[in-house]
């Protein structure tokens, strides 16, 4: 197209997850209420809305009720309502059901859903309000003028592996916007750039993440009840080494959603969350739900779980950050959808007011933070602000301290610290525990019926990337990588990546190097978080590439 490919809009929202779509929907409503006739654009990198969305998901529905009209709310594609809720403590062979669980973890009355489906539905509601939703377009670059955000630019396409323009080269489109809302979800690429440019994390603790892996199964009648919810902790995780657990949700039509999430602050450089989930599935208490069933879908995504204290300042001149990109996830329940929706609504109110007053400055947008502080984001996150930090001390010590916090509205006897997940990794030579492979030696051959190797899993994520494009996973310094990540950490990326993107290649002379199979990437962002030395930067590939989640 022409060399100067520029379009403009009043509001640009990056990311069509619950946060972005709620922003769009509520903004359209606010504009209408205040008589403003304005353009709202949403850009989504998945090739359709929902294609890159993955969640549990047990939904607290209050926020959606506020966002939508009654009729719209009743038409939400919920799968079913939670009918029973159990927490199991697994040992290597047995299971023990907790007689009760902390009230914050109670799910009775909540809905089980596929967030992919919810987002597809929300997108139609946004469109019906005149919002323009464009799926299949990715942005990597924020545009600035006088050090203020003025828009974003979509990726150039038709560039080969070596970065040379091809005959089908297309320059990306610059989108100028009076306000940009970043709703990219976990570890947002633009949000990361923005936070560092404006030092938005200045007053926050480091963000920490879990990697969650999810599978959707079809099982014979009778394996599990519709609406049955199980959360597990314990096996195969070691309470002193890893923080995390699994979930199994019975859906309608004999489908089962199951997942396994592990905090990325583990020390073992060979720990492998994907493999851990396969081990977990072999536990009799889990395997029984899947007996004679078939895998339908697979996906993985990280969850920011640092809580209140890890949230960045979510705004600056002309730009706001909402949802996971701003770390808005309620711990310990691991629920982010309703907070993403709430954040979107707060952002919409602030933006509408700012545009009405023709003032999009940081000062004007600080109203957004005020609204957050009065919302459930505050009331659900603040009391548990120290939860994740104490949990780094292991489940038992941490659990005890968390118990105390519950009594003291979250105050801690001392302020615990969080460190970045990649700092938590130990060098191979310094790690004193039993390496992952040793721990589960006899459980790591996968039968492709109950358990799967990574490449087969990736097949079930529908992931596809155009091979003619520059690699979207940047190794920041190859030499350094070889020295530190390969030699000292045993190429830990080959283990933490759930999609077999990284291969520790050994050539004829026995020299080790890293090979990147970028086509496998399911966009979970673990490498961007966990690679020692922050050695890998995740960038968005061509828009439309990546997984093709249908019902995760």
């Amino acid at each position: 197209m022409n060399s100067d490919d520029t379009i403009s809009t009043d509001v640009l929202i990056v990311g069509a997850g619950p946060a972005g779509l709620s922003s769009a929907i509520h903004l359209a409503d606010e504009f209408q209420k205040s008589g403003q006739n304005r353009r709202i654009m949403v850009i989504e990198k998945g090739n359709a809305v929902g294609a890159h969305i993955l969640s549990g998901a047990i939904l607290k529905t209050d926020a959606l009720k506020e966002l939508l009209s009654e009729e719209e709310y009743t038409n939400l594609p919920f799968d079913c309502e939670v009918s029973s809720d159990k927490t199991l403590k697994l040992s290597a062979t047995g299971a023990f059901a907790l007689p009760f669980h902390p009230p914050v973890m109670d799910n009775m009355g909540n809905k089980i859903t596929s967030l992919c489906q919810i987002c597809r539905y929300l997108a139609t509601l946004a469109e019906a309000r005149g919002v323009e939703v464009y799926a299949g377009f990715a942005v990597n670059e924020i545009l600035y003028e006088n050090d203020k955000v003025i828009g974003v630019k979509t990726i150039d396409t038709g560039v080969n592996y070596q970065g040379e323009k091809q005959k089908n080269y297309q320059k990306g489109t610059s989108v100028l916007a009076r306000i940009v809302i970043l709703a990219e979800g976990t570890r947002g690429t633009l949000a990361k750039q923005l936070k560092s440019k404006f030092d938005l994390r200045k007053d926050a603790l480091p963000q920490v993440y879990s990697l969650g892996i999810k599978e959707l199964w079809s099982v014979p009648e009778g394996n599990i009840k519709e609406g049955a919810v199980y959360h597990t902790f314990g096996y195969p995780l070691d309470a002193n080494e890893e923080f995390g657990g699994g979930f199994v949700y019975g859906l309608k039509d004999n489908k089962v959603a199951l997942g396994f999430a592990v905090g990325l602050d583990y020390a073992d450089p060979s720990f492998d969350t994907h493999a851990a989930m396969q081990v977990w599935k072999q536990h009799p208490s889990i395997a029984k739900f899947l007996k004679d069933g078939t895998l339908i879908e697979f996906g993985a995504k990280t969850i920011p779980e640092g809580g209140w204290n890890s949230m960045p300042k979510p705004y600056t001149d002309n730009v706001l950050i909402v949802g996971d990109s701003a770390g808005m996830v309620a711990m310990p329940a691991l629920k982010g959808v309703h907070l993403a929706v709430t954040a979107g609504m707060c952002a919409a109110k602030a933006v509408s007011k700012a545009l009405l007053n023709d003032d999009t400055s940081e000062k004007s947008l600080s109203y957004y933070k005020e609204l957050i502080d009065q919302s459930r984001i505050y009331s659900e996150m603040y009391p548990y602000r120290n939860f994740r930090a104490v949990m780094t001390q292991g489940l038992y010590v941490g659990g005890l301290k968390f118990g105390i916090q519950l009594l003291t509205n979250g105050a801690c006897l001392f302020t615990p610290k969080l460190e970045h997940d990649n700092v938590a990794s130990k060098k191979v030579s310094e790690y004193t525990g039993v390496p992952f492979k040793k721990r589960f030696e006899d459980k790591l051959t996968f039968d492709k019926k109950l358990t799967f190797d990574k490449v087969t899993s990736v097949f079930y994520s529908g992931t596809h990337h155009d091979e003619e494009q520059p690699i979207h996973l940047h190794v920041n310094d190859i030499e350094d990588f070889s020295e530190v990540n390969i030699k000292q950490y045993g190429t830990s990326c080959q283990y933490f990546c759930p999609a077999d993107v990284y291969e520790a290649h050994i050539d004829k002379e026995g020299k080790r190097s890293l090979k990147i199979h970028a086509e496998n990437c399911v966009h979970c962002k673990t490498c961007d978080i966990k690679a020692p030395n922050s050695a890998i930067t995740w960038m968005t590939p061509y828009g439309g590439d990546g997984p093709q989640y249908q019902n995760l």
Binding site: I43, G136, T157
Partner: protein
């Protein structure tokens, strides 16, 4: 200003295509995409525009309203206008009526009135849910304009089109005038990604939707009623693999010897699944037998000449031709049309291989195949001889020639058949039995189903998949007629020039034509694939068409170019023999090669999943096995294939 018209179809994502219980395709569940070949045509249109001083780009499609989505994608890629022909009454259309209806839409838009117009039609070679490659040819004939199909790349130079056409084992450079129709293979310039500004434009662009009344199509011309062919039945083909036969032995030599022995005794086969016997419907006793041939009689085949020799597929074609003649009335003749320059000698060969009469058109100007001339000659021969059946080998030439002729004779065409038989068709409603009728069977939907297609207009035309039928035994005693034929040649049919024909090292398409593919995986890398290439070249020296390829990791490592990658994101191939060396058998790889006739796996790890997807297996280091195998090949072992050349 030139108008570039792109014909485009939306198809279900091939990997998500499923069949309903009724044998019809269930399109509702699969995600829709622009047919891959069509997306290459869209790009070709955009490339052509960039070589011209201004051109208008329009995109046309025929199908349900949901096709608008893909038409909009074309707009976001840079197209200016979009048109959709959508009408329930078009349901059941075969390729003949589809070609007709699309042409009618183009005429309605003002194109196809004469040869002095300034437009180019670009289209995909074929669709993934139909696989026929007919429509571009049919549109060209309906519009009365020249065509070139199976193109990789085109250029616009001095007001003409220079096109690179893929042919068996090579390519041909063609020069075409404007207007013309061009169809593209998915091997040229990949389709560009839409830009966001393009998507914004597409959002604001209306797709113009026509119904059949708008473009003056009558019910008798469309849908089931207008279609000369119908799908008579569909049955399942089981594509699971039977258990593998592993080689025994203590050394490379022993293992290879055992493999040879095993291959000789044949692979395991699955027990035939007992197919539900179709309920025999009793015909009403008063039903009437109709012979719709109207005096047409005999079978006409085409003898394709390449490099001065008869192409092997056109000799193969004589096998079903003779069999069909035997199933028809006494005295039914097999005639073969032979067009070329100095081809007298070849005529005798055809007779030795089973033809009763060779109709010869010998003209110095007809040395190389050219569609306009050949289709016109065919039409004249058909008029003179009135055959009831006409057969073509499904080569790149046969696949474009047959449909173009079919439009002239108003017959439909069945593409790429693997079985041809004479049968009857019962119409219980009308109480009519049509007999005798040609039953053409062809695999569809990614080889998972076998469809039987019949037509009611003579000649009944089919193309036969190369390599499915044996070459008949040569018999020098056999006698037959050689009859010269002098067609009327129209100067206008000489407009397309052949600039260059290149056969030999066969471009990107050779993977599709190879009889043997040797693939190296991650486990065959320690010698940079030297042994793999050696095995391939040893087979080629033995006269077997062989290519080497790789799995994705090898491409990622830069040892092999992407064009040779087999699998989900690479090519899907179905050679007679597929040899996987050091390939793990990831599901992404398997989907690209599982339709191969025989699969041999060589891997040092007996647990790899490749062994679950192969017919013959050797567990061992490939560095030991391949040298032994190469030695045997050099001594003449060619995996039981025919040596040909």
């Amino acid at each position: 200003m030139t108008t570039i018209i792109s014909l485009m179809k939306q198809v279900p994502l091939p990997s998500q295509m499923r069949m309903g219980e009724d044998g019809l395709m269930d399109r509702t569940k699969a995600k829709s995409i622009i047919n891959v070949d069509c997306s290459f045509a869209l790009e070709a249109g955009l490339q052509l525009k960039s070589m011209m001083k201004g051109a208008k780009l329009i995109v046309c499609s025929m199908g349900p309203p949901s096709f608008e989505q893909s038409l909009k994608t074309a707009i976001s890629m840079g197209y200016d206008e979009a048109y959709l022909l959508s009408d329930r009454r078009l349901g059941g259309s075969d390729t003949f009526t589809t070609g007709f209806a699309l042409s009618r839409m183009l005429k309605h838009l003002g194109f196809g009135k004469g040869l002095n117009e300034d437009f180019i039609v670009v289209a995909g070679r074929q669709t993934s849910d139909g696989d026929t490659a007919h429509v571009p040819s049919q549109v060209a004939e309906n519009l009365g304009i020249p065509q070139a199909t199976f193109l990789e790349n085109v250029e616009f130079k001095n007001s003409t089109i220079i096109a690179r056409r893929i042919i068996e084992g090579g390519y041909q450079m063609l020069k075409l005038p404007i207007p013309c129709t061009l169809s593209f293979t998915p091997t040229g310039i990949p389709p560009r990604r839409p830009t966001l500004s393009g998507a914004v434009k597409a959002r604001n662009t209306q797709v113009t939707v026509f119904n059949t009344d708008d473009i003056h199509l009558e019910d008798s011309q469309i849908g089931l009623l207008g279609s000369p062919t119908i799908v008579a039945k569909v049955s399942s083909i089981r594509s699971e693999r039977a258990p593998i036969i592993m080689s025994q032995g203590h050394s490379g030599e022993e293992l290879v010897k055992d493999l040879m022995k095993n291959m000789k005794s044949g692979k395991n086969s699955l027990e035939a699944i007992s197919k539900k016997e179709a309920k025999k419907v009793e015909m009403p006793s008063d039903s009437e037998k109709v012979d719709f041939r109207n005096g047409a009689s005999g079978i006409l085949t085409w003898a394709e000449v390449a490099n001065g020799k008869l192409s092997r597929p056109s000799l193969e074609l004589l096998t079903p031709a003779v069999n069909l003649a035997h199933s028809l009335e006494e005295g039914t003749k097999v005639r073969t049309l032979l067009i070329g320059s100095n081809v007298q000698e070849l005529a005798k060969e055809l007779i030795y291989h089973g033809s009763d009469e060779v109709i010869i058109v010998d003209d110095a100007r007809l040395q190389e195949y050219r569609i306009l001339l050949f289709s016109s000659i065919f039409a004249q021969v058909i008029k003179a001889y009135k055959p009831e059946i006409a057969l073509f080998a499904a080569t790149t030439a046969g696949r474009e020639l047959a449909p173009r002729i079919g439009v002239k004779t108003k017959s439909g065409v069945t593409a790429d058949c693997t079985a041809l038989e004479i049968g009857e068709h019962r119409d219980n409603k009308k109480k009519i039995v049509y007999a005798p009728i040609l039953e053409s069977r062809r695999p569809t939907y990614g080889e998972s189903k076998l469809a039987t297609i019949i037509g009611f207009v003579c000649p009944q035309i089919s193309t036969a998949r190369a390599g499915t039928f044996e070459v008949p035994k040569r018999d020098e005693e056999k006698e037959g007629l050689i009859t010269p034929f002098t067609p009327e040649l129209n100067e206008q049919d000489f407009v397309t020039e052949i600039l260059e024909t290149h056969r030999g090292e066969g471009g990107l398409s050779s993977l599709f034509e190879a009889d043997v593919i040797v693939t190296g995986g991650r486990g065959a890398l320690s010698d940079d694939m030297i042994l793999i290439k050696e095995l391939a070249s040893a087979l080629n020296t033995q006269g077997v068409k062989c290519e080497w390829a790789s799995s994705r990791p090898v491409v990622d490592l830069g040892v092999c170019e992407y064009a040779r990658q087999i699998g989900q994101t690479g090519k899907t191939v179905r050679p007679k023999v597929y040899i996987a060396v050091g390939v793990s058998g990831a599901i992404q790889h398997i989907v690209g090669m599982k339709e191969s006739e025989s699969i041999i796996a060589i891997n040092k790890n007996a647990k790899e999943s490749i062994f679950a997807n192969a017919d013959f297996g050797i567990v061992g280091e490939y560095e030991d096995i391949l040298p032994a195998l190469i030695k045997e090949v050099k001594n003449g072992f060619v995996f039981g294939l025919d040596k040909d050349k």
